[in-house]
């Protein structure tokens, strides 16, 4: 059973909250790198922090001729 609930706002912000929001006692805001978006997090961000950062890495590996310039 998922322990998180994921929502997305109109501006592309992904929000991953404890399923029981009364459990929340901290907040982490994660800003992606150039050329990425938060959307790639949506499917897996509910799981745990490790997955979030794994997605950051995946999202970073853009197959682009401009990859070397992405920061």
């Amino acid at each position: 059973m998922a322990t998180f609930v994921t929502a997305k706002t109109g501006d592309g912000t992904v929000i991953v909250s404890p399923k029981n929001e009364a459990d929340q006692s901290a907040l982490v805001v994660i800003a992606h790198g150039l050329g990425d978006t938060a959307e790639g997090f949506e499917d897996v961000a509910q799981v745990r922090l490790l997955d979030l950062f794994a997605v950051v890495v995946q999202a970073k590996r853009i197959d682009s001729p401009f990859q070397a310039n992405l920061t």
Binding site: L27, H32, D36, E39, R48, F66, N69
Partner: protein, 228 residues
Amino acid sequence: MPHVKFILPTAPTNPVTMNMGMAMPSWYDIVGLDERSNENCAGIAESQARIAGILDQEHADTGLPYDRMVLAGFSQGGALSLYTGMQLPEKLAAVVVMSGYLPHASAFQVQQPSVPVWHGHGTQDMVVRYSLAEKSRDAVVSKGAENYTVHKYPIAHTVSPEEIGDVLQFLLTRIPDDATCRIKLQDPAEMSVKELKVAIRKAGLTSQSVGLMEKFEFVKLLQDHRAK
């Protein structure tokens, strides 16, 4: 970390000078990667205000103290997190920078010197070079920061499982679960029907609410869920 809410904003899409004007999600324009170019960060003030606004909104909505909030980011996002987190009027729990740097250093002033900064960086990073991590640390410390640590990893412009594990351990020391810091939620009994429906949807209880007709039933569903 089941007690943590994550907010993952998406940057606006704008032309990026360094990438031949190609439009892409970017927190600010990048002219080049050398230190002089890092002074030209058109749009960073707007992104700084947006990130600060997210924190302010969370505080206003839930009463969560700022010292239970962390700004983190990768590369340009890490740079923005550092730039924003150390210049806030409120003290955060920490700032996490992964493969980032200090942007627009001439305008940067440390407002919260005791906020710990955890900076991870690959020694093989050819995009944002490792030396820039140490230079960023030195610059931020010279402006008053008291706790800025750089952690090196044998990787390129990415993060590794080892770094991820270290970030997680760091976060657990800065924002461990603390029942005394739980957010303040509106009492379901005081919510309008519209507010109840939003709260039930946010809690993933939509399917359980099917068939409920009376307001008190929605209130009880949400109250019971929170009491678990």
